[in-house]
């Protein structure tokens, strides 16, 4: 069971996407795991052949428990000493290439149900097997109403009928039984996970905080002009300009990009920008945009759109959960002026943006009205000093004055 974020202590296997004998290569998605926060697609980190699945669907095991054995490709049954995954590091510094390999053709794609989180929780509460539900939502997605519609007959049947014999291949091919967690438990588990991580952050990390008001007028105007030219589906959001500015600057201030582990700073192996995403119904998740510094504005926009979509109604990948090197939170979205962030351990910095608003602005002896955003930095004083953080925010400001170069 891989560590899918510093706040994860155990996980439940929801579904295997491979079976013994399947050939796998580094980056393939082999299983879906439910942490207390989300469903996560787990990638494999080596090439080989699946030997044995050690943990079945529905089983909850602690982080570090081997999930399966992998045989080296071409051998006849000599297990590779490492199981899936390799021993859990405090944070997984292993970076899977951002271009995640497509699902192997033999993966039981037909069994991948589209289920909204609410519907899944409802199904858990009512003991409904999602495989028996016909989805009426977009692309056949299963909604709460669909689950409730079949709930009564199914629960009745469960009482009177003996459980059906489990076919031999059930472990790998049948849709997974939902983990036995009531919605309230799940909410609580999410809250507990956030509580534990944030308490650790405030206990261990000596935060220092900086803020800088940034004139966004030029950036906002440039964005409007750009969006007038663009067809609707290709338009950009202001938040993407902010993310881009951060991503471009991080390589110039590598001291803020990485982890504080075992009393020392370990630089990140790339700029993997954590994007804080609030979940509808409560909770927070901050998956990574890999190599964000090398992404164009359009790629960043697509990447964020994809992350938000999957965080809220689909699945994230293990590598996205485990390896952000610095995180950005854009709470201005909800209207506040600024955010003093809490760093995600073991990261050493968190960048926050408030709302972009019209403000009185003095410049060159004149008072005018400008679009202004307040950028903040919460950083780990063990890793850097305020001087470094100050340079970082100033560089972000400078970048945002030349939006056409982002």
């Amino acid at each position: 069971m891989p560590s899918l974020g510093a706040d994860m202590e155990s996980g439940t296997v929801l579904e295997w996407l491979v079976k013994p004998g399947d050939a796998v290569k580094r980056g393939d998605i082999v299983a879906v795991v439910d942490t207390s926060k989300a469903e996560i697609e787990v990638e494999i980190f080596e090439n080989g052949v699946i030997g044995e699945l050690l943990v079945g669907p529905g089983e909850r095991v602690p982080v570090g428990t081997p999930l399966a054995t992998v045989l080296a490709a071409g051998t006849n049954g000599a297990p590779v000493p490492t199981a899936v995954p390799p021993a859990p590091a405090p944070v997984a510094p292993v970076v899977v290439p951002p271009q995640v390999a497509p699902l192997p053709a033999h993966a039981p794609a037909a069994h991948r149900l589209r289920v909204s989180p609410l519907a899944r929780r409802t199904a858990e509460r009512l003991s409904v097997d999602l495989a028996t539900v016909t989805g009426s939502g977009p692309h056949g997605a299963i909604t709460r109403s669909d689950v409730e519609a079949v709930a009564a007959p199914v629960t009745a049947a469960a009482v009177t009928e003996a459980p059906p014999p489990v076919p031999h291949a059930a472990v790998t091919e049948a849709p997974p039984p939902a983990p036995p967690a009531a919605p309230a438990d799940r909410q609580k588990a999410m809250r507990d996970a956030i509580a534990a991580l944030m308490a650790r952050s405030k206990r261990e990390i000596p935060h220092y905080y900086l803020e800088l008001q940034i004139d966004m007028t030029r950036a906002v105007e440039w964005l409007h002009e750009e969006n007038v030219r663009r067809p609707l589906p290709e338009r950009l959001l202001p938040s993407v300009l902010l993310l881009a500015a951060v991503a471009r600057v991080v390589p110039d201030v590598p001291e803020l990009n990485g982890y504080w582990i075992d009393g020392g700073f370990r630089p990140g192996s790339g700029v993997h920008l954590g994007v804080a995403i609030s979940l509808r119904g409560g909770g927070l998740i901050a998956p990574a945009l890999h190599d964000a510094d090398r992404m164009s504005l359009d790629e960043l926009m697509d990447g964020v759109r994809d992350l938000v979509q999957r965080a809220r109604s689909g699945r994230l990948r293990g590598s996205e959960m485990s390896d952000p090197t610095i995180t950005v939170t854009n709470l201005g979205e909800r209207g506040v002026d600024l955010v003093h962030g809490v760093i995600y351990p073991p990261q050493v910095a968190l960048v926050g943006f408030g709302a972009v608003r019209e403000r009185p602005w003095a410049a060159e002896g004149m008072l005018g009205v400008r679009q202004v955003v307040c950028a903040t930095l919460a950083a780990d004083h063990r890793a850097t000093d305020g001087h470094t953080g100050s340079r970082f925010l100033t560089l972000i400001d400078r970048r945002l004055q030349k939006p056409e170069e982002l």
Partner: protein, 88 residues
């Protein structure tokens, strides 16, 4: 398409972006972002979905007119009148 049908289009777009939304629960006169916990990324995806279903061009400056279910339906009906009919 009449205003009622546009309302269905908006609902469909909303549920595509946020499958957990129960159409019956949407108050037509309350800001969608507030009542459904929709942020700017979700909202943009809703606008794109509406555009894909209707072919209606929605300039960025008009986004505020789509802030509630009722105002969005009215805006789309009006926009359809303004432009040449795009629906088959």
């Amino acid at each position: 398409m009449n205003e009622h049908e546009f309302r269905e289009v908006v609902i469909r777009a909303l549920t595509e972006v946020a499958p957990e939304i129960e159409p019956a629960d949407v108050d037509p006169d309350v800001d969608l972002a507030d009542q459904l916990d929709i942020d700017s990324m979700d909202f943009l995806r809703v606008v794109v979905a509406i555009h894909e279903q209707t072919g209606i061009e929605i300039p960025e400056r008009d986004y505020p007119k789509l802030s509630t279910l009722a105002s969005a339906s009215a805006y789309l009906a009006e926009a359809q009148k303004r432009h040449a009919p795009v629906e088959p």
